[in-house]
Amino acid sequence: MTTRRLPVYILADVSGSMQGTPIESVKSGIRQLHRDLLGDPQAIESAYLSIITFGNNATQMVPLTEVAMFNPPELTASGTTNFGDGLRMLLESFDRELVRTTADQKGDWRPLVFVLSDGAPTDTEWPTYAQQLRERRPANIIAVACGDQADVNVLKQVTENVILMQEMTPDAFKAFFAFVSASVKQTSQKVGAVADGSAITLPPPPPGITIVP
């Protein structure tokens, strides 16, 4: 019997438009999330973090790693917005990393995914993967549209849980990662009762971030 994990994936846009304050804010947000989770024994025992980025291509910067062993990655922003490759990498990571319940083994908890993007996809493949994620529901996905250039309608095709960060200020990113941390803690607290996959409840989003209906 191995430990059942709460897998947490962060899928971050690192295209050229994220250069400067946005990418620095994402980096410090991930560090803040990590420090926060180190303060919660349930998260230390069950939450596992992975960071996937997409620019010209997608890269899994950190494979699914327990909180105590996690090292926040160095991120640089450049290139186009190959959103499709990011989604493809996410699905591939699910297949490679996650344990589903079988007759002999209890599976992981349903993964929690946070998608950050500030732009519109530059590739043409993304709708295929978005449809797979939306229809197969392999995860609870929360997508955040960063700034006024982000295409909310694209994110809506991945998940119904889309939130909007109007201004890409350091404070807005900080508030968003605090929301991520609260969501992970809440999900790992209530893991005994997440019914029917789609029905998770999340903490209220912080000020400056609104839920897109």
Binding site: M1, T3, R4, R5, G20, T21, E24, S25, K27, S28, R31, Q32, H34, R35, D36, L38, G39, D40, P41, Q42, I44, E45, S46, V67, A68, P72, R100, T101, A103, D104, Q105, K106, G107, D108, W109, R110, P170, K174, A178, Q189, K190, V191, G192, A193, V194, A195, D196, G197, T201
Partner: protein, 367 residues
């Protein structure tokens, strides 16, 4: 402990001003990468801070329960600090049977000062035994009331039923559903806020045989152990591809459909033991039928080595022959396994033949 964690730099409190403290860092980087990480937090134990039953709602709840149920509920509210915080146990014996049940609050709830969501009912007379366990859904606000009322109503219904039958079991579950819906009305919340699992068994001697009825709504496990060592799990638990996802709880609309499908009447020639557990035990001991024999072996004969899958277990003599079996079972429920920090409830019934037919568990016996 929490005290040692707070000696470390406060990540969230200082993060905003860290840019000013270390001028080399741009303001967009509130938590410098080379700042030492806080020491990982460890478990603490806090008594529950909220009242067990919402204050100001007790009279409304009592008014909507049958008088006998209401009287027991009033008692339960008075003893909640004893029975629903750290946990408690019960033990009873008859000529042919021993029943022992205990609930232990999980580390997650202890750390955050929350109540246990589990509950159990145990009753034993010379002619009938009844065991019921329940686990309130973590996502439901008043699930601790749901599990407590469900075990009481279903347990008493089975205890007082004219016979041990499928009809008696259906009636017991139906009464629990009605009671929970009435309490939801009293609390002015949706019935889903009282969601709980429910596993129940009632049994009677029938000559040298036993007649039983069992049912299950939601996750957890209920198994029968026979004199030849075989374990029979009459109903599969409700679960899916991922951990912890239950499709139907009491008092959801589909409760009776699920309960009818899961109700089984058994006529058993060689019944040795019955074992009921909530998911706090069922999850670390998956698949449960494989663990049931070794667990019964430990409870009957003592723990001499940790059981594979249960993490850190303390050696202890037999739970059943202890001076206080309920307290000994509560202690047995304290095994420590990474990530498995839910409330734990176990109810066991042992026939007088059990200690002869169920062997001690030793590491060479594969789990």
């Amino acid at each position: 402990m929490s005290g040692s964690a707070s000696e470390q730099p406060e990540p969230s409190a200082t993060a905003a001003s860290a840019g000013a403290v270390e001028p080399v860092m741009p303001p967009a980087t509130p938590a410098p990468a080379d700042e030492p990480l806080p020491r990982p937090a460890t478990w603490t134990v806090k008594p529950p801070d909220a009242p067990w039953c919402p204050e100001g709602r007790l009279d409304a709840i009592l008014a909507r329960l049958e008088p006998a149920v209401a009287a027991r509920f009033r008692d339960r509210v008075a003893h909640a600090r004893v029975e629903h915080a750290e946990g408690h146990g019960r033990h009873a014996t008859s000529e042919a049977w021993t029943v022992t049940a205990a609930m232990r609050r999980g580390r997650r709830h202890a750390h955050t000062g929350a109540w246990s969501d589990d509950a159990f009912f145990a009753s034993l007379s010379s002619h009938r035994g009844v065991l019921v366990v329940a686990d309130g859904a973590g996502s439901a606000t008043w699930s601790r009331l749901g599990s407590a009322i469900a075990v009481d109503v279903a347990g008493e219904s089975l205890r007082n039923a004219t016979d041990v039958s499928a009809e008696a079991m259906h009636e017991a579950v139906e009464r629990a559903v009605l009671a929970l819906r009435n309490v939801a009305t009293a609390l002015e919340v949706a019935p889903r806020e009282l969601r709980t699992t429910l596993l129940a068994v009632a049994w009677e001697p029938d000559g040298t045989r036993h007649r039983l009825v069992t049912t299950q709504v939601g996750d957890g496990s209920l198994v029968l152990a026979h004199a030849d060592g075989t374990i029979n799990r009459p109903a599969a638990g409700d679960g899916g591809e991922w951990s912890g996802e239950v499709h139907c709880f009491v008092p959801d609309d589909e409760t009776m459909t699920r309960a009818r499908a899961a109700t089984v009447v058994h006529d058993v020639p060689d019944l040795a033991a019955l074992l009921l557990v909530t998911d706090g035990i069922d999850d670390p001991c998956y698949p449960f039928p494989r663990f049931a024999g070794p667990i019964l072996g430990q409870l009957l004969h003592g723990t001499t080595a940790p059981l594979t899958g249960l993490g850190v277990q303390v050696n202890a003599p037999s739970v059943i022959t202890a001076a206080d079996p309920a307290a000994a079972l509560h202690a047995w429920l304290g095994f420590e396994k990474r990530g498995e920090n839910d409330d734990r409830t176990l109810a066991v019934a042992l026939h007088t033949t059990a200690s002869h037919v169920i062997p001690p568990w030793a590491p060479s016996t594969s789990a």
